[in-house]
């Protein structure tokens, strides 16, 4: 009887060990499958499109870093992480850029960077969509993005877009809260040329 019990226990322990090992193997294989990349700043572009006085205007952020872990078959372990230097905003008009950097809009003196990091990535008919947390002007809110991931050699190209409401993040205080002159909705377009991390 004691022998039998000991035998069963040993079997149970063995199976538990096997289970643990395979679980570890699973997670490590998923992590390994999502390759790590960084965006090449010279070739990558982060653009926003706002509406001002009834007409669209485009601007870009010249300085941002993007770290991407991605594999189509390991979406759970995939992640896009973007850090944006808000001072690098360029709407192709110096006067407007100065205004955008000021306290009432980006308030770059207190919030020099914005951060976006995905929480979940799912496959869609057109490519992928993700939900991530955007921290902008000190406010963090979820913003969904749609994107395509196209492998190119050792790297890849990641292009996509998002929509957000600037007032959700307090971008626009005082007079700028009005959406009559500057629309609430802002479109974001990005095109990242990814290089494998070394």
């Amino acid at each position: 009887m004691r022998k039998l019990l000991a035998g069963t226990a040993a079997v149970l322990l063995n199976s538990a060990a096997v289970l643990l090992c395979s679980a570890a193997a699973l997670t490590s294989s998923a992590a390994a499958a999502a390759a790590s990349y960084t965006a090449d700043p010279a070739q990558s572009r982060l653009e926003f499109v706002g509406v001002q006085a009834g007409a669209e205007f485009k601007g870009v952020f010249h300085k941002f870093t993007a770290n991407v872990d991605f594999a189509p078959d390991a979406l759970a372990g995939s992640r896009i992480d973007v850090q944006i230097d808000m001072n690098s905003v360029d709407s192709m008009d110096k006067d407007r850029d100065t205004t955008i950097r000021s306290k009432d809009i980006f308030d770059v003196a207190h919030n020099p960077t914005a951060h976006y990091v995905t929480k979940t990535i799912t496959k869609t008919a057109a490519g992928y969509s993700a939900v991530g947390a955007l921290t902008l002007r000190g406010v963090t809110k979820d913003v969904p993005i749609d994107f395509q991931f196209v492998p190119a050699g050792a790297g890849a190209k990641l292009t996509g877009s998002a929509k957000l409401n600037r007032l959700d993040f307090g971008v626009g205080q005082g007079d700028w809260k009005s959406t009559e002159n500057v629309g609430d909705a802002v479109k974001i377009n990005f095109s990242l040329v990814l290089k494998p991390k070394t």
Partner: protein, 187 residues
């Protein structure tokens, strides 16, 4: 109707073009002049937003007016005018016509150069005429501002001349452009 004798009065269409554009120019001058003293902010944007929409309206009306003018003879100048007066009237009218195009066009171009596209009353956006460029913008702004004073001057001369015709010469030059009036028959 090339063989018909010229009309003695401006037609309702010509009067319509004249007075609507005249009123819009007054509005434009007020909006443009006052906006330049405002700091870049919501109020300045709102004012220039109206200025641009009215400006594009004037440009559209100017195109239609010129087309209409090409196919419809205006009444002739009164017989008592000297050669110099006729020449001055012709030059002044031509300048006003040119400025009706050049003012909106330089405004449209300077908006494009500053990367502030022009909307028409938030209904649609006009295409940009030039790419963003600070030097080009500064040059166009100087041109637009300077020409606004030229327009102010020729418009003032135009008004003074109309009054001179009406009160001094006592002819029907002013009356024939006024709706709801009758011009005396010329012998």
């Amino acid at each position: 109707m090339p063989n018909q004798s010229p009309p003695t009065r401006y037609s309702a269409v010509a009067q319509g073009f004249h007075w609507i554009i005249a009123a819009l120019i007054v509005v434009q001058f007020t909006l443009g002049w006052t906006a330049q003293f405002l700091p870049l902010g919501a109020r300045k944007l709102a004012r220039l937003d109206w200025h641009k929409s009215f400006g594009m309206t004037i440009l559209t009306l100017a195109v239609l007016r010129l087309l209409w003018r090409l196919f419809n003879r205006p009444p002739e100048l009164p017989p008592g005018m000297t050669k110099f007066e006729r020449q001055a009237a012709r030059v002044n009218h031509a300048l006003i016509y040119v400025l009706l195009f050049v003012m909106p066009l330089t405004g449209w171009m300077m908006s494009s150069a500053k990367n502030y596209s022009v909307s028409w009353f938030h209904q649609f956006t006009w295409p940009n005429l030039v790419g963003p460029n600070e030097q080009v913008f500064n040059l166009l702004k100087t041109t637009h501002d300077t020409l606004s004073w030229l327009l102010f001057s020729v418009a003032l001369l135009h008004i003074l001349a109309a009054f001179k015709h009406h009160f001094w010469d006592k002819d029907d030059v002013l009356k024939r452009m006024l709706p709801f009036t009758k011009s005396e028959k010329r012998s």
